[in-house]
C-alpha cells in the first residue's frame, strides 16, 4: 500500500498540473465575469487545449483518458478556484447517455459544444408526484404526425434557466405498466411552451427549478431509444449520476469542529478538553476518515479498471447525516450565538448554520437516506426488494392516494 502515483500516473499528473499552472485564469478581468461566464470561458479554454471531458473519445472533444486519469485531472483542477458545477449534469450524465443512445448526427452535432461548454444541458426527470418513485412520472407526450406534444410539470431541475437543451422522460402510454410506458427525448429549453420557475429552498437559495411544459412540440427525431424504452435510457443517465456522486461531503469537515472546540469554553476550559465533545469529534473523524480511505480504496480499484459500484452510496448515507449532526452540535457549542446567521457577527456560526439548514436537502437529493440504504441492502448485500404493488399494473390503475 502506498498513496503515491504509479510512474504513468505521475507523468500524467505532471502534464496536467503544468498545463493548469500556465492556463488557469486568475486575472482580475476574469473574476469580474459572472460565475456562468467564467465557467464558459474556462471550459472553452480547456476544450481548445484538449483538457475538456478528457474521458470522452477525441471525436467528441475528449482525449480518451482512463478513469484514474480523470480523477487525477479533477484533483489537480480542484487546486484552483474555478467554477465547474454548471456542466456537471450535462457532461457527467447526459453526455454518456447521448453517446449510448443518440444517432451519429446528433452525437456529432451536440457532444462537442457540450464538451466545450458552449451549450449547457439540464435533466428533466423528477416530478412533484414522483420523488423516490421516479418512474411514476405523469408528464405526457402525445404523438402528432412527426412530432410529439408534451404537457406536464418537472421539478428539481438544476440549471434549467441557463440551459440550452434538456433531456426529458415522459409517459407516452399510460395504459401499460409504469416502466413500460415511458419515452426519452431531448428538448430545446427555449422552445415555446417551456416555462421555468425557480424553487425557493428552505435555505432561502434557489438551486432548482420547476419546469412547466404546455403543448411543447418536439420532433420524433429528438427521441433517444425506442418508444416505450424511456426507462432503460434514463437508467444510463442515472447510472452516471451515481458515478458522479460520492465523496464530496467534505464542505464541513472535522477540522472545523476542532477549531470551534478550541475557541469556545465550557466551565472555563476549552471545549476541546470536554470528554463529551471529544467523543463526538472522534466519532465524526471515524466517519470522515472512513469515507476518505474508502475513496482511496475505490480509486485503487478504479485505477485497476474496476467500475464504480453501488457501494459508493455510503458516501452520502454517512456524509449527509454527519453534516447535520455535526452542525447541530457545533451550534450547541456556540450556545445562544449558535442561532446567529450573520457571518459578519459570528463567522463560524454562519457557516455552521448554512450546513445545518442545507443538510436536510443533502439527505434527500439524489436519493433519500432510505433509498440509499435500500440500494446497499439490495444491490450490495443481495437482499430482496419489497413486494411491489405497482408491478405489472397499468400505470393509470396504480393507487395514488
Amino acid at each position: 500500500m502506498d498513496f503515491n502515483d504509479t510512474p504513468e500516473e505521475a507523468r500524467f499528473r505532471e502534464e496536467a498540473s503544468s498545463w493548469l499552472a500556465k492556463n488557469a485564469p486568475t486575472d482580475d478581468a476574469f473574476r469580474t465575469l459572472s460565475p456562468l461566464e467564467q465557467a464558459k470561458v474556462w471550459q472553452k479554454r480547456k476544450y481548445d487545449a484538449g483538457w475538456a471531458c478528457i474521458g470522452w473519445a477525441p471525436e467528441f472533444g475528449g482525449r480518451g483518458a482512463s478513469a484514474i486519469e480523470e480523477v487525477i485531472w479533477r484533483q489537480e483542477e480542484s487546486q484552483y478556484d474555478l467554477p465547474a458545477n454548471f456542466f456537471l449534469i450535462g457532461q457527467g450524465m447526459i453526455g454518456p447517455t447521448l453517446m449510448a443512445w443518440a444517432s451519429d448526427e446528433d452525437k456529432a452535432r451536440f457532444l462537442p459544444p457540450l464538451a466545450s461548454g458552449e451549450e449547457v444541458w439540464c435533466q428533466l426527470f423528477s416530478e412533484p408526484a414522483g420523488g423516490s418513485d421516479l418512474a411514476a412520472l405523469r408528464t405526457r407526450a402525445e404523438r402528432d404526425g412527426d412530432d410529439w406534444v408534451i404537457n406536464g410539470q418537472k421539478i428539481w431541475t438544476s440549471g434549467a434557466h441557463y440551459s440550452d437543451y434538456g433531456v426529458i422522460v415522459v409517459r407516452t402510454d399510460p395504459t401499460v405498466p409504469k416502466h413500460k410506458g415511458l419515452s426519452y427525448f431531448y428538448v430545446d429549453m427555449k422552445a415555446p411552451g417551456v416555462e421555468i420557475k425557480p424553487i425557493k429552498q428552505l435555505t432561502g437559495d434557489s438551486d432548482f427549478n420547476e419546469v412547466y411544459f404546455t403543448d411543447v412540440r418536439v420532433s420524433d427525431s429528438q427521441r433517444l431509444g425506442e418508444v416505450g424504452q424511456g426507462w432503460q435510457v434514463s437508467l444510463t443517465t442515472l447510472m452516471n449520476e451515481r458515478a458522479a456522486i460520492g465523496g464530496s461531503f467534505g464542505q464541513m469537515d472535522v477540522s472545523l469542529a476542532v477549531s470551534v472546540a478550541e475557541e469556545v469554553e465550557i466551565n472555563g476550559r476549552p471545549a476541546l478538553e470536554d470528554a463529551a465533545v471529544r467523543a463526538r469529534i472522534a466519532n465524526w473523524y471515524v466517519q470522515e476518515a472512513g469515507l476518505k480511505y474508502t475513496g482511496y480504496r475505490s480509486l485503487t480499484a478504479l485505477s485497476r479498471g474496476a467500475l464504480p459500484g453501488p457501494e459508493n452510496s455510503i458516501g452520502k448515507l454517512v456524509g449527509a447525516p454527519k453534516m447535520q449532526a455535526m452542525s447541530s452540535y457545533l451550534m450547541d457549542l456556540l450556545g445562544a450565538s449558535g442561532a446567529i446567521a450573520d457571518e459578519s457577527l459570528a463567522a463560524k456560526a454562519g457557516i455552521i448554520q448554512r450546513a445545518y439548514m442545507g443538510a436536510p436537502g443533502l439527505r434527500i437529493a439524489g436519493g433519500t437516506d432510505e433509498i440509499m440504504a435500500n440500494i446497499i441492502a439490495e444491490r450490495v448485500l443481495g437482499l430482496p426488494q419489497e413486494p411491489r404493488l405497482d408491478k405489472g399494473i397499468p400505470f393509470n390503475e396504480v393507487p395514488t392516494g
Binding site: G131, K200, E265, I266, N267, L333, G338, T400
Partner: protein, 371 residues
C-alpha cells in the same frame, strides 16, 4: 394517583388550541418569517386580551394568579402553532425575574403592565459564543451605569425593558434596564428563525437599576432558568407534536410505488421513534410542571429532565418531518422548516442540551446523595 391536568385545565387547552388555530395559522408565522417585522403585534394584543400574559402574575399585580399548570398548557399550544411572539422572553423569563427578585416598587411598576401585555420585556444573558458562565460575565454595573455587550438578545427590538444579567462589586446582579435610552445601541441580528427578532445590545453607561435589594445568589438565577426550562419544554413539545402530525398526515397521503409511504417500515419506524421521543418528553414535561407548580425540591432534576427530553424530541421531530416530506419538505413553500428553525432556536436558548445534561446529572447525584 392523579397525574393529569384537571378538567378545567383541559378546557383551557381546548380554548387555547381553538384560539391559535384561528388566529395563528401557519400563514401568520410565514408572514413574520418572510417580512420585516420581528413579531405579530396584532396577535400579541389578542393573546394579551385572552389574559395569557397575566397567567401566573399574582392578582395583586393585575395578574390572574393561576398556576404553572395553566401556563404550561398555553406554552404547549404556543409551540404547536410556532407563534411569532415574544412570549417566552416576556412571560417565562422577564416577568418571572421581576416577580421573583424585584422590590415591591419594581413589581408594582412593571408587573401590571406585563400582565396586560402593553409592555413586552426580555432577558439579556448571552455575551457571545460558548456556554454562559455566571461567574465570568463581562457586562458590569457601576453605580447606576451599565456597560457591556449582550448578544444575541431575543425580542429586544420590541421590548420596553430588559432584565440584564451583569456583575458589580456586589457580585452577580439582574439589572432592570429600559431599552429606549441614550446609553444603549441596538442592532438587529439575523438568526436562523427570523419569525422571532434578535438583537445585539451595546450598553455604554446605560441607566440601570438593580432588580431587588441586593446581589443575586446564582442558585436563584438557576432556579429561574429551571422554571423557564420547564415552560420551554412544553413549548418544544408542542412544536414536536406539530411536526409529528405533519409527518404522519403526509405519510398517509403521499404514495410511492403504489402505496402510501407511511406503509413502509422505514417511515413507520421513523414516525414511531418520533412518537416515543414525544411521549418521553411529554411525561417528563408533566414531571417538570408538577415540580414547578408544587415548589418541589425536585425541580432542578425535573426541569433538566424535561428540558433535555424536549430538546431531543423537538429537534428529532422537526428534522425527520422534513425527511418524511422528501424534496417538498426542503422547499420554502412548505411549512416544515418553521418547526426546524424554532426547535433549534429554543434548544439554543437558556443553555443547550449538553449544559442541561450536565445539570441533570448534578441534580441526580445530589438527589441520590440525599436519599
Amino acid at each position: 394517583m392523579n397525574f393529569e391536568f384537571s378538567d378545567e385545565q383541559q378546557l383551557l387547552r381546548e380554548q387555547a388550541r381553538g384560539f391559535l388555530t384561528e388566529y395563528c395559522p401557519a400563514s401568520v408565522v410565514r408572514a413574520v418569517l418572510d417580512g420585516d417585522q420581528d413579531w405579530d403585534a396584532a396577535l400579541w394584543q389578542k393573546v394579551a386580551d385572552m389574559g395569557w400574559t397575566a397567567t401566573v402574575i399574582p392578582e395583586a399585580y393585575g395578574g390572574l394568579g393561576l398556576s404553572y399548570y395553566e401556563l404550561a398548557i398555553i406554552a404547549e399550544e404556543m409551540g404547536r402553532s410556532a407563534a411569532p411572539l415574544p412570549f417566552s422572553s416576556s412571560v417565562y423569563l422577564a416577568s418571572e425575574a421581576i416577580q421573583r427578585f424585584g422590590t415591591e416598587a419594581q413589581k408594582s411598576a412593571w408587573l401590571p403592565r406585563l400582565a396586560s401585555g402593553e409592555c413586552v420585556a426580555t432577558v439579556a444573558m448571552a455575551e457571545g459564543a460558548g456556554r454562559l458562565a455566571l461567574g465570568r460575565l463581562e457586562t458590569c454595573r457601576s453605580g447606576s451605569q451599565l456597560s457591556g455587550t449582550k448578544v444575541p438578545v431575543a425580542d429586544a427590538s420590541i421590548a420596553e425593558v430588559a432584565v440584564v444579567l451583569a456583575r458589580s462589586e456586589a457580585g452577580l446582579e439582574a439589572c432592570l434596564v429600559p431599552l429606549q435610552q441614550a446609553g444603549i445601541s441596538m442592532e438587529p441580528v439575523i438568526t436562523l428563525d427570523t419569525s422571532r427578532g434578535h438583537s445585539v445590545i451595546t450598553f455604554d453607561g446605560a441607566q440601570a437599576e438593580v432588580l431587588g435589594h441586593a446581589a443575586l445568589d446564582p442558585v436563584d438565577w438557576e432556579s429561574l432558568l429551571d422554571g423557564a426550562a420547564v415552560l420551554l419544554a412544553w413549548e418544544q413539545l408542542g412544536l414536536a407534536e406539530t411536526a409529528l402530525t405533519q409527518a404522519r398526515d403526509y405519510a398517509l397521503q403521499r404514495f410511492a410505488f403504489g402505496r402510501a409511504i407511511g406503509s413502509y417500515q422505514a417511515i413507520k419506524h421513523k414516525l414511531a421513534n418520533m412518537y416515543v421521543k414525544n411521549t418521553l418528553a411529554r411525561s417528563n414535561a408533566y414531571y417538570g410542571v408538577w415540580a414547578l407548580a408544587e415548589g418541589s425540591d425536585e425541580l432542578p432534576l425535573a426541569a433538566a429532565t424535561a428540558r433535555v427530553a424536549a430538546i431531543q424530541a423537538s429537534t428529532y421531530a422537526a428534522e425527520e418531518n422534513i425527511q418524511t416530506h422528501g424534496g417538498m419538505g426542503f422547499t420554502w413553500e412548505f411549512d416544515c422548516h418553521f418547526y426546524l428553525r424554532r426547535a433549534k432556536l429554543l434548544s439554543l436558548a437558556i443553555g443547550s442540551e449538553a449544559m442541561w445534561q450536565d445539570r441533570l446529572v448534578s441534580a441526580l447525584a445530589a438527589h441520590s446523595a440525599a436519599a
